[in-house]
């Protein structure tokens, strides 16, 4: 039996998730025993189509991204969103909270007309996506677990249990009980609660759980000393994208 052919692609992103995927050399080499990599701009020069599994990093921010993403979809049996930008729009979607013209002027100044962009969207707003590997960046163990599942023909992990679950099982001190604002209660887990484990509040990089109680979360953040403005910006660091932004 031939090995599954996998490929990595990127759109608007820092490419940190792909870097994370190849960063842990030992495990990556074992992984290479199970797959053939046919496209991976960050690691190899060859580029072939006829792909079994495509991992797509980055959000969609420009008109010309759409045909390229559609081409990936047409040539892949399975498409996986890799990392926060692809899954939820990530930090790139913060621009959706302000008028597009202002954002473009901020970045490109008087050259803003040279670089047309549109509101940021996660890749599943453009093509059908078969699975998600969350996080900014992705968690390497979570990535490997998901790759194993994908290779077995299974779905990727839902991670609908919030960050609090892993945080509590690790017996970290709850940052909220210490008066620090934390997005853990409504943010998808699967990261091993890495931020709270090192004393940093969760900022929601893995996206919100399926049915987040945002009102209660805002009340809790307000009790922990955040103003309404603070709460709004805190909750939109990684979760600014709203489907109505692109309608």
């Amino acid at each position: 039996m031939s090995k599954p052919r996998i490929a990595f692609f990127d759109f608007a992103s820092c490419e940190g998730c792909q870097l994370e995927a190849i960063n842990f050399v030992e495990e990556f080499l074992v992984l290479l025993g199970h797959v053939d990599i046919v496209q991976f701009r960050e690691a190899i020069t060859e580029a072939e189509w006829d792909i079994d599994v495509s991992f797509v990093e980055g959000s969609i921010t420009r008109e010309q991204d759409i045909p390229r993403l559609e081409e990936i979809r047409e040539n892949s049996k399975v498409v996986i969103a890799l990392g926060a930008c692809a899954c939820t729009g990530g930090v790139n979607a913060i621009k959706n909270t302000r008028p597009l013209e202002d954002v473009r002027a901020d970045v490109y100044g008087d050259k803003k007309d040279w670089f047309p962009t549109f509101p940021t969207r996660p890749i599943d707003q453009v093509i059908k996506v078969d699975g998600y590997i969350y996080g900014c960046p992705i968690d390497r163990n979570d990535f490997l677990k998901n790759v194993q599942l994908i290779l077995q023909g299974k779905k990727t992990l839902r991670h609908n249990d919030p960050v609090c679950v892993e945080c509590r099982l690790k017996e970290n001190e709850c940052l909220l009980t210490l008066g620090k604002p934390c997005m853990g209660p409504i943010t998808r887990g699967g990261c091993g609660a890495i931020d709270p484990t090192f004393g940093h509040p969760c900022t929601g990089c893995r996206g919100l759980v399926d049915d987040p109680n945002e009102n209660a979360a805002m009340d809790v953040l307000a009790e922990n000393g955040l103003t309404v403005e603070d709460i709004k910006s805190y909750m939109t660091i990684f979760n600014a994208f709203r489907p109505e932004d692109i309608q």
């Binding site: 290779l151 077995q152 609908n160 249990d161 919030p162 609090c164 709850c174 210490l178 049915d211």
Partner: protein
């Protein structure tokens, strides 16, 4: 049960003996502003004057993540059961947690025979110690602070002296490792006084006898308190993860990267998490926080009373202290029962 006293200054000696005699000794140690049970190498870090630990000592009988079976995908599928049988001591367990372990025994050893739990439990020595409550504690509303069973030794801090109840032969052997003498009437009376003063320290109370809650719950299925709490609940699951009497779990099969071998592991799981009741075809039969909170309250104060004749809440206050929205079972119990009075 026999009672002895020993000088508090001998505690270090006692702990040293335990460390030399048992492969693992677990005791409360500080973690930031909180406390956790952790393996100790000497007596220096042990803190008996704690209120509660983040997780209950249950984690040594049923770990958060516990390997059940290792398997290998050869021609003949091979299985190897993982049973842990190392001797262990849990030192400094509060009365509520002792009672919680008794309840878990009922569930995991008597009503069901959970091989992994039984293997760990039968190799566990429990040494209890008394303590004072804080604003989240309500043990006094759901149990007797004076525990009579479920431990090998139970220590009461009398100031310079420690009064110790010896319940088992192994407990006697441990006490024999240090100088001690039989407890006279005077010390037993002193303990009663301490217990009485501890009972008066509770500020959080369930207004009615907790064993009456099953009656109170009749006709309350659609009471507005469930929706009210549901609006506050984040469904983060912290309450059920820190609970000393919760025992629900999920089981996963995880392959090694080689894809040739794997492990079947059980993980703590519970009813306040949205996916707990998610079943095939995407149906979720408790798909909102109000229904989940109602279920949790019934589990603690009705369903288990029907089966085990015991309240499955020890009043330890862990769920209350850790809840970001400060949801607590005392408030719910009092809201439900106040209407009975009217």
């Amino acid at each position: 049960m026999k009672q002895f006293i020993f000088q508090k200054s001998r505690m270090k000696e006692l702990i040293s003996y335990l460390i030399s005699a048992y492969p693992s000794v677990y005791a409360p140690v500080p973690r930031g502003k909180h406390f956790v049970f952790d393996k100790i190498a000497d007596a220096s870090n042990v803190e008996f004057k704690y209120i509660r630990t983040i997780l209950p000592p249950k984690k040594y009988l049923m770990p958060q993540h516990e390997a059940l079976v290792n398997f290998t995908l050869t021609e003949n599928l091979e299985f190897k059961e993982e049973l842990v049988t190392d001797r262990q001591v849990i030192l400094g367990v509060r009365p509520g947690d002792i009672r919680a372990i008794k309840l878990l025994d009922d569930v995991m050893m008597n009503r069901n025979k959970d091989r992994n739990y039984i293997a760990r439990r039968e190799n566990t020595v429990i040494i209890g110690i008394d303590g004072i409550p804080d604003e989240y504690s309500y043990e006094d509303s759901v149990m007797d602070l004076k525990v009579e069973e479920g431990f090998d030794l139970f220590m009461t801090d009398l100031g310079n002296m420690i009064l110790v109840d010896v319940a088992t032969e192994e407990g006697m052997k441990i006490i024999n490792s240090i100088e001690h003498e039989p407890a006279t009437e005077r010390y037993l009376n002193l303990r009663e006084n301490i217990l009485n003063s501890q009972r008066e320290m509770f500020t959080a109370r369930i207004d009615i006898q907790a064993k009456l809650l099953p009656l109170v719950l009749e006709g309350k299925w659609n009471h507005p308190i469930w929706e009210e709490m549901g609006r506050k609940c984040l469904s983060c699951g912290q309450c059920i993860l820190v609970c000393p009497t919760c025992y629900c779990f999920n089981v996963t099969d995880d392959m090694a990267l080689s894809m040739e071998e794997g492990t079947r592991t059980r993980h703590w799981d519970g009813c306040q998490l949205a996916d707990f009741t998610l079943v095939g075809h995407g149906e979720n039969f408790r798909d909102n926080a109000a229904a989940r909170i109602r279920h949790r309250f019934h589990r603690k104060f009705k369903y288990h009373l029907d089966v085990f004749s015991e309240i499955f809440c020890t009043g330890c206050g862990r769920c209350w202290e850790t809840c970001p929205s400060e949801i607590n079972l005392v408030e719910i119990a009092n809201a439900l029962s106040s209407e009975e009075v009217e």
